[in-house]
């Protein structure tokens, strides 16, 4: 299946952002991932042609970065932070709970194609530990049960919305397009900050009123 005129022109607009075309390789990889759900051989060939570099050079980049997948992921890709702080606060138990609940190993996808599971490194939300990400949206302060409820809601086709994110959880493909720098119009949805982000500010205001 060849890319459409419209898709090819999106690729050209991504390349046009940069002073030198090769810099566009990462957003282009996010973009081809948004079309097929993973980085296909066809995508690598198209990027190679667009940037006038070899397919081996494109593959070398695609395989260096863990967010580019070389096989189909679930419609909802769930990541559990198991770096030290989240792991200790409960991330290890959440990951084990989800593996058992979904019958998956790390990097596995459910048979219905709805959910894939991966353990993650630190996701810069440690004050909300333990943290789960779905399609790279934040699910803060999770428990084993809340994480199970989350994946159940995905398999039922009505995913629970993120804690700090858009009103509706976008699909894996949709969010891959966001990472390619395409505006999906959901920036104004969701909270501006969660309670832990505001803790210092609130204490400061309380203190100055005294």
């Amino acid at each position: 299946m060849a890319y459409s005129e419209q898709e090819l022109s999106v690729m050209d607009s991504i390349i046009a952002r940069y002073p030198r075309s090769r810099s566009a390789i990462m957003p282009l990889l996010h973009y081809v991932q948004s079309l097929a759900g993973f980085v296909t051989n066809e995508g690598i060939e198209e990027i190679s042609a667009k940037l006038s570099i070899t397919t081996a050079e494109v593959s070398a980049v695609a395989t260096f970065y863990t967010q580019y997948k070389r096989k189909p992921m679930g419609e909802y890709h769930v990541g559990v932070c198991t770096n030290t702080l989240c792991a200790i606060m409960g991330g290890d138990e959440i990951l084990e709970g989800l593996k058992e609940h979904l019958g998956l190993e790390n990097d596995g996808v459910t048979a219905d194609g709805k959910v894939s599971l991966e353990h993650l490194e630190c996701n810069a939300a440690c004050d909300y530990a333990p943290v789960v990400m779905a399609n790279w949206e934040f699910y803060d302060n999770q428990t084993v049960q809340s994480a199970k409820d989350l994946v159940d809601s995905m398999r039922a086709g009505k995913p629970i919305p993120p804690t700090r994110g858009p009103n509706v959880l976008p699909t894996w493909k949709e969010n891959s397009a966001v990472l390619a720098g395409l505006n999906d119009g959901h920036a104004n949805e969701g909270v501006q900050a969660g309670a832990p982000s505001l803790l210092g500010l609130r204490l400061s205001k309380k203190g100055s009123k005294k």
Binding site: R17, P19, S23, M26, P27, L29, L51, A60, V61, F64, Y65, T66, Q67, Y68, N83, T84, L85, I88, M89, G90, D92, E93, E121, C122, N123, A124, A125, C126, D127, Y128, A129, P130, W136, E137, F138, V144, P170, V178, L179, G181, N183, D184, H186, A187, N188, V191, Q192, A193, G194, A195, P196, S197, L198, L199, G200, L201, R202, L203, S204, G207
Partner: protein, 435 residues
């Protein structure tokens, strides 16, 4: 008692704090308009006078970094903002950008003008879709307002700003790996010199600054360098974001003058979680040697933390109580460094692999007392022997934890395994105990 000083976080409690309207309500973009009427060198001098130092970990003076860019060289100059926040424990830039992306855009306009850059990039980590969304929207809104693009603020200057989204590689937070990644290659560090100020992006003079550093600039322009340098300590000026996480009653962000202590922050946050005591903590992420209760009164500024044997780093205060197995904590960090090592330098690539094997054996009861010396020996042979500091960071928690908790490592040998109940460390366990 040191008072908190919310500047960057001052309006995060307003629902529309991330919008152009919300930002302009409190004087947003006035500092850029003011700076663009000054001479570029005067802007650099003002930032030098403020004493602002890099908030990404190294603490290099920001104004001095800008001053290193050769002027009148007829070359393109670039500004690259490092928003790849990935150091374990570090969680300040993402909430900042979620709540107020415009302050970074304004800081970029000012910094680009000062260093005579017509192209700027924000390299943001790829695992934070909503933060990327907010930044993308802020950039588009700034273009629409005439703050970016051609003739910004009708100054005759042009500035293009591109959001570049990474794809999951901790190493790209290292500035030269970031530049390789931005050029379209695998993110691997470069040998320095030449430094980015001479040969950075596309081998052109480039400034790479952290999100918080650049976001601090508008307030410095607006309020003056004296206002900024009145906060903090002698050599560590200004306010900064401290991120408290882990076994505390209330985790969160605390914007305070440099030099506040963990004891003061913990007091504000309600202390360690109920019924537990502080065991160890990191002052600035997993690459900074761990502290214990003995350093509760260490001033958290660049000099204070260094004098106590660690680094201020990213001010990521990760708190662990007595339920936490230090070997498990260190093993997990070490697995992270092994996974994230880019593979370019042998001491880091091979060394982190061996560190993991030995720590795993210890945690699983297959270790010996001699393994501790082997670990320290490996650390010595990794430290300072690679292009970048990733391998160095891997050794920090190992060397410091053996120094503070040698007995606990030995207990894993004599006990033939980990003596801790991992469930007791979880948040769920404390919720149950509190109920």
């Amino acid at each position: 008692m040191t008072a908190l000083t919310p500047v960057l976080s001052a309006h995060w409690d307003e629902e529309d704090s991330f919008t152009m309207a919300g930002y302009k309500r409190h004087g947003g973009y006035k500092a850029a308009a003011k700076a663009l009427k000054m001479e570029p060198d005067a802007v650099i001098q003002l930032v030098k006078d403020s004493g602002l130092r890099g908030r990404g970990g190294a603490g290099f003076p920001t104004g001095m970094k800008w001053g290193f860019i050769p002027q009148g060289d007829n070359k393109d100059h670039y500004l690259v903002v490092n928003a790849d926040e990935s150091e374990p424990g570090t969680c300040k830039d993402m909430p900042l950008l979620l709540a107020n992306p415009h302050v970074l855009v304004e800081g970029i306009i000012i910094a680009s003008y000062a260093i005579r850059a017509k192209y700027a990039f924000i390299y943001i980590r790829g695992e934070v879709a909503h933060v990327a969304r907010r930044l993308q929207q802020a950039i588009e809104d700034a273009y629409a307002a005439g703050y970016l693009g051609k003739n910004v603020f009708k100054s005759g200057q042009d500035l293009e700003l591109v959001l570049h989204v990474g794809a999951g590689a901790y190493i790209c937070g290292e500035e030269t790996a970031l530049l390789d990644s931005l050029e379209g290659y695998r993110g691997q560090p470069r040998l320095r010199p030449p430094f980015p100020a001479i040969a950075g992006l596309y081998a052109r003079p480039t400034v790479v600054n952290n999100v918080e550093s650049i976001s601090s600039v508008p307030a410095i322009i607006a309020n003056g360098p004296e206002w900024f340098s009145a906060m903090g300590t002698e050599k560590s000026k200004g306010m900064t974001l401290y991120s408290l996480s882990g076994h505390v009653a209330n985790p969160g962000q605390f914007e305070a003058p440099l030099g506040i202590t963990l004891r003061e922050i913990l007091e504000l946050a309600g202390g360690v979680r109920e019924g537990h005591q502080l065991k160890f903590w990191t002052p600035g992420g997993s690459s900074t040697p761990i502290f214990t209760a003995d350093q509760l009164d260490t001033p958290l500024d660049y000099e204070g933390v260094a004098a106590a044997g660690s680094m201020l780093g990213t001010k990521a205060l990760q708190i662990f109580d007595e339920t936490t197995c230090v070997v498990r904590a260190v093993l997990r960090w070490t697995e992270f460094y092994k996974h994230e090592s880019c593979g370019k330098c042998t001491p880091c690539r091979e060394g982190t692999w061996w560190l993991v094997q030995i720590l795993r054996d210890l945690e699983n009861g297959k270790g010996t007392a001699a393994d501790l010396d082997k670990l320290l020996d490996l650390c010595e042979n990794i430290l300072g022997r690679s292009f970048c500091a990733l391998g160095d960071g891997a050794t920090s928690s190992i060397s410091s934890s053996i120094k503070h908790f040698r007995d606990e490592y030995i207990a894993h040998v004599t006990n033939a395994g980990c003596p801790f109940d991992s469930h007791a460390s979880t948040l769920f366990a404390s919720a149950k105990a509190g109920a």
